[in-house]
């Protein structure tokens, strides 16, 4: 299972549009991309999850790791495009308290 990731640079944000499923198989790829952007100085990352069919706790861990990494460099990581089931999952895990959905 491949993860589709397309990038756009907007103002001082990197927008990542993700397509596919984020789990133990694909999560490392997203993690590497986030690490790469932060290393390159792009510390504000916006992740569009509208085309994500599935995300599990490994995927949530990648987002939490990205949040910690970007904030550690005075940046931020936010998500948009959450489906109802993803919103529910963010709520169940408390992720909604720290990974707020950016207004579009």
């Amino acid at each position: 299972m491949m993860l589709g990731i397309t990038e756009q640079f907007r103002d001082n944000w990197v927008l990542l549009q993700i397509n596919g499923e984020i789990d133990m198989a694909t999560g490392p790829e997203l993690r590497q991309r986030i690490v790469h952007y932060v290393q390159e100085g792009h510390v504000n990352i916006l992740i569009d999850l509208a085309e994500v069919d599935f995300i599990d706790s490994t995927g949530l861990g990648v987002l939490i790791g990205g949040l910690k990494r970007t904030r550690g460099h005075d940046g931020d990581l936010q998500c948009i495009g959450l489906s109802e089931s993803l919103k529910e999952m963010f709520k169940l895990t408390g992720l909604d308290a720290v990974l707020t959905e950016k207004d579009t």
Binding site: F54, D56, M89
Partner: protein, 146 residues
């Protein structure tokens, strides 16, 4: 279990997607199961299988993980059985809120709490020779005549 399937997979993350698809397809054979419950099952099975794959990290590649899915009149039962070193479920401490200072240092700790929320019943039997996680999702009475 009245009807069911059994899958044996190598302990590789690449098989997670297949496990989710097969289990949800089997559960969907019962027309009374609502989509939201199928989503709950999909996530819970993925979490259990992910933990099983992780537990095989130090085992040979010939050791398989077994997933059984059975449907009865009032429930879907899924068992995920691994051969990894066991653990004591009592030792799992609940994760704190993510906005708690320092919590962001830990990216994990969601799997078992999520399974407990998503499944109607969960049993974890763990021993030195492996762990079996049993997940149960209740199904409403079917309105179809047979």
């Amino acid at each position: 279990m009245t009807t069911g399937i059994t899958l044996e997979i190598p302990a590789k993350a690449e098989y997670l997607s297949l496990v989710r698809a097969v289990v949800v397809s089997a559960a969907a054979l019962d027309p009374a199961v609502k989509d939201q419950r199928l989503e709950d099952l999909r996530l819970a099975v993925s979490e259990a299988t992910t933990n099983a794959i992780r537990s095989h990290a130090n085992l040979g590649s010939e050791e398989r993980i077994t997933i059984r899915c059975g449907l009865t009149a009032d429930r879907i039962e899924v068992e995920v059985q691994d051969r990894g070193p066991g653990f004591n479920p009592e030792d799992i401490t609940p994760i704190g809120p993510l906005d708690q200072p320092g919590r962001l240092n830990y990216e994990g700790g969601f799997g078992i709490p999520l399974m407990r929320v998503l499944a109607d019943e969960i049993k974890i039997n763990s021993a030195d020779e492996g762990t079996t996680v049993q997940l149960v999702v209740y199904t409403p009475p079917s309105t179809e005549s047979s």
